[in-house]
């Protein structure tokens, strides 16, 4: 689905009456099925932008338009699984939430439980459906979170540094997994990260953001072909894309400190 972010600004009021401009006049159009990375150092407002798209934070100014009404899927930095629920029950959680009409619709869907089981299989967790989060490794917990984000077949999935707490190898496996499920389902993806390599490897477009005030300074189109494979990470094309993104950050970063 289309996400059209038009002139969005966000001003926070701190406790001591100070005004902090977290986002200033951010505009970007995201085409259906696109995978977009929001890349930037901490404090650049990338999470705030995601929260505004998610409807978790109200913007001070501007608008976000969606081409259809949908409940997005979510992934956060921590898996945020409920420890008293088994893996499959955690995956099913989104189906139990929401207002009356939404819920009634989902309750009518008898295949939900089956879909949850299938999703767990897709993310490589068959046999772990009835384990509690405590019994799963960090990577496995994040796999459950992926399955949960996909349960409602959302046409938009919002991810806020979902793999930043994982080790390098697990992260790479997760990157490939998320690309797999994205290719198979074709949802629109917004992926917040502060890792340049991850941003480039996953995305069609890397939106480079800088802080004070938070804004998009560069919209880099990644030239790597699809499907992405792990040996592309060493390729010249990848290196070239990474360089372009880094240059975009550095020029503003260095300019800022002067």
């Amino acid at each position: 689905m289309n996400v059209d972010i038009a002139g969005v600004s966000k001003i926070f009021h701190t406790g001591d009456g100070e005004r902090v401009t977290a986002l200033k006049d951010v505009s970007v159009k995201i085409q259906p099925g696109q995978f977009v990375s929001l890349l930037g150092p901490s404090g650049c407002g990338k999470t705030t932008l995601l929260n505004i798209v998610a409807g978790l934070t109200n913007q001070t100014d501007g608008n976000v338009y969606f081409s259809e009404q949908t409940q997005p899927g979510f992934m956060f930095q921590s898996p945020t699984l409920l420890p008293w629920r088994t893996a499959v029950d955690n995956v099913l959680l989104p189906a139990e939430l929401g207002g009356r009409p939404k819920l009634a619709q989902r309750r009518a869907d008898a295949t939900l439980e089956q879909r949850a089981q299938e999703l767990l299989r897709t993310v490589g967790l068959s046999g772990f459906e009835h384990r509690y989060p405590e019994e799963l490794s960090g990577g496995m917990q994040q796999r459950v979170a992926i399955a949960r984000a996909l349960l409602l077949e959302s046409s938009l999935v919002l991810m806020d540094e979902p793999f930043s707490a994982l080790d390098e190898f697990t992260r790479e496996a997760m990157n490939l997994l998320i690309l797999d499920v994205w290719a198979a389902r074709g949802f629109t993806a917004m992926f917040v990260t502060h890792n340049v390599f991850e941003a480039v490897f996953l995305a069609d477009r890397v939106l480079v953001m800088t802080p004070r005030p938070g804004r998009i300074v560069e919209d880099v189109t990644v030239s790597l072909p699809r499907p992405r494979t792990s040996d592309m990470i060493g390729s010249d094309g990848f290196a070239a894309d990474v360089r372009r993104v880094r240059q975009a950050i550095q020029s503003f970063w260095l300019g800022d400190s002067e």
Partner: protein, 295 residues
């Protein structure tokens, strides 16, 4: 060559010694269950022997402290009486009933008020200062009024018990219900959870470890409250037995009834722990939130 053999032999001898030493240590070692229990029993025996020696030697007059043998004798008589349904049984079960009913009401009130305080800010603003003020009022000072209002029967003891036990449960519930981490709350909001859904599916579970910590304190205080109530007036219960025994200078009975009370208290506390184990089936981040995991 010969030195190697020699070294080997020596090492063997050393390890042999070591393991024998370790085995002897194991009996009283605090690292394993058998060792712990035997150490605990040994400690008790040492205390009893010292106590016995003090009373027999006359260093402490018998009129002030009963000897352990007299106390054990009295305890045995009381327990037989309880088993056969004598007058002691009536006192024992009266106290138990008062404590349990007081505790049950305290739990109901504590949970209801704790939930209201946690969930509704106006209530929190209005009520919390008075709750704190009431809590700092010594319950024993309220006892005479409670007796006037609720009479000399069991109901005044139940009220005393609930008055003492409510606050820790209330505070634990209120704290627990606000303990859910921000990430989980963000998740719930992101999926459009209603307030009630977040309460029912997340907050209650997150509150349970706190709640049970409150129950553990509550059950102990419920016992205190009921016994204080019995001290104030009445004609039944273990507190009443202690009072009467003290007036007739029956020190062994005072001591043995105190021990009975601690049996009752420990038993009830165990019950709470048992219930906790049943209810909280998943692993919590800090299982030590149970204040006394006496094992």
């Amino acid at each position: 060559m010969s030195t190697v053999v020699h070294e080997g032999g020596q090492r063997q001898a050393e390890t042999g010694n070591g393991s024998r030493g370790e085995r002897r240590m194991a009996l009283f070692s605090l690292e394993n269950r058998v060792g712990r229990i035997s150490a605990q029993i040994a400690f008790l025996v040492a205390v009893l022997l010292t106590w016995h020696w003090f009373t027999v030697s006359g260093l402490i007059p018998k009129i002030l402290v009963a000897g352990p043998l007299d106390v054990l004798n009295s305890l045995w008589t009381s327990m037989q009486d309880i088993a056969t349904g004598g007058s002691m049984a009536e006192h024992f079960w009266t106290s138990a009933q008062e404590i349990l009913l007081g505790f049950a009401f305290a739990t109901l009130i504590g949970v209801a008020m704790g939930a209201l305080i946690a969930e509704f800010k106006p209530i929190r603003t209005l009520v919390v200062p008075y709750v704190v003020a009431l809590n700092s009022m010594p319950r024993i000072a309220i006892a005479p009024m409670v007796l006037v209002w609720f009479g000399f029967g069991t109901s005044s003891k139940i009220v005393m018990s609930l008055l003492t036990a409510t606050f820790p449960i209330l505070i634990a519930t209120a704290t627990g219900l606000t303990a859910s981490d921000r990430a989980t709350q963000r998740l719930m909001r992101a999926y459009g959870a209603t307030r009630w859904q977040t309460f029912r599916k997340v907050k209650i579970y997150d509150a349970l470890p706190y709640f049970f910590a409150g129950l553990e304190i509550g059950i102990t205080l419920a016992t205190v409250g009921a016994i204080v109530g019995e001290f104030m007036g009445g004609n039944a219960g273990l507190g009443y037995v202690i009072l009467v025994a003290q007036e007739s200078l029956n020190l062994p009975l005072v001591f043995s009834t105190l021990i009975l009370l601690s049996f009752l208290g420990t038993g009830l506390h165990r019950l709470v722990l048992l219930l906790r184990g049943r209810v909280i089936y998943w692993k919590t981040e800090d299982d030590e939130k149970s204040i006394q995991k006496s094992k």
